[in-house]
């Protein structure tokens, strides 16, 4: 990705500064997270994996990356 301005999102409840108008694919690559057994919500709505490449994030989006952990 070429030099670009940055933007601010809320990621799993914490503020993160990430490259501007990045896609979810881009975000995951940026965070070095493999697309496997995860779910992503943007502003409380689930984004299906099929849209990760086309779905671009906006300033102040609230993004949640969710996975399965040990539980009973």
């Amino acid at each position: 990705m070429t030099i670009s301005t940055k933007m601010r999102i809320i990621l799993n409840k914490d503020v993160q500064i990430i490259p501007d108008s990045i896609s979810i694919d881009g975000l995951l690559e940026h965070l070095n997270i493999e697309i496997k057994y995860i779910a992503i919500e943007v502003n409380e709505t689930i984004v299906p994996k099929s849209e990760y490449d086309t779905f671009n994030l906006k300033e102040n989006d609230s993004v949640e990356i969710i996975n399965a952990v040990g539980g009973g």
């Binding site: 990621l11 799993n12 409840k13 914490d14 965070l31 070095n32 997270i33 496997k36 057994y37 995860i38 779910a39 992503i40 919500e41 689930i46 299906p48 994996k49 949640e64 990356i65 969710i66 996975n67 399965a68 952990v69 040990g70 539980g71 009973g72």
Partner: protein, 259 residues
């Protein structure tokens, strides 16, 4: 032991185990292997972003192609949160819609909230989820949940993690007597005999986590629980002797050299 069928898949093991509270993922996996469980529960949580990427993930240890993953809604106190959690679970597990629904009443007792549980179940059935539902030992509510379309009823033996064992045999027997779907007792088992007793009541399976994960030796307790569930199942089907107030000799009276 006959097979247990859940969501069109049949299982040799009637023990379902949780994956929480273990020292590490290696211990988790070893304990599960010792328990013989083929279905394991998982919780749905935000990813720990800071986490070192070299750290393996639970589902790398418990391959969903080998184990049936049963995501639960632990931590949800109302129907809306539980439904949302199930949708996230389906997304995480590539469309798998088998879930363990639990909607709790309070943090201190983790006792089910049956009214919210009923609401959530109705919604989730509309969304095609296959629901195994954690509930109280109230057989009227259990039947309502079955009528709504839940595929398994999971009444508690006693509070989650309490280790108090079966508090109310009568209610569990009544639930089993009135239901046509599998009854899998969930929560409260403390030791092996608790698990055998659940099966001796005629229940179809047992789900546990704390009893194994928090035992001094989780791997050995996992082995114990595997045998306990099998022994209780076999004993139920072998038809136990009736309880009698008076004794009955095992050795013959005939030919007694002392007569």
């Amino acid at each position: 032991m006959s097979k247990l069928t859940l969501n069109d898949k049949s299982y040799n093991s009637r023990l379902i185990v949780g994956t929480g509270k273990y020292k590490d993922l290696e211990e988790t996996k070893q304990a599960i292997l010792n328990s013989g469980a083929e279905m394991v529960t998982v919780a749905i949580r935000r990813m720990n972003i800071g986490q070192d990427k070299s750290l393996p993930n639970l589902l790398d240890y418990l391959d969903p192609k080998i184990f049936t993953i049963l995501p639960n809604t632990a931590g949800c106190y109302n129907a809306k949160d539980a439904v949302r959690t199930c949708q996230l679970a389906a997304e995480i597990l590539e469309g798998e819609k088998l879930v363990k629904l639990e909607v709790l009443g309070d943090e201190k007792t983790l006792y089910p909230n049956v009214t919210e549980t009923l609401k959530a179940a109705e919604q989730l059935v509309k969304d095609d989820f296959k629901i195994m539902v954690y509930t109280t030992d109230d057989h009227i509510v259990a039947k309502e949940l079955e009528n709504i379309g839940c595929i398994a009823i999971m009444p508690l033996a006693s509070p989650i993690g309490s280790g108090l064992g079966i508090q109310n045999e009568y209610n569990l027997l009544t639930i089993k007597e009135n239901s046509t779907v599998p009854i899998i007792v969930d929560a409260g088992v403390g030791t092996a005999s608790d698990a055998s007793k659940v099966m001796e009541l005629g229940c179809d399976g047992v789900l546990m986590n704390t009893a194994i994960a928090c035992a001094k030796d989780p791997l050995l307790m996992a082995t114990a629980m595997k045998k306990a569930v099998e022994s209780g199942y076999d004993a139920y089907h072998a038809g136990r002797i009736p309880k009698k107030f008076h004794a009955s000799a095992s050795s013959p009276k005939e030919g007694n050299v002392c007569d």
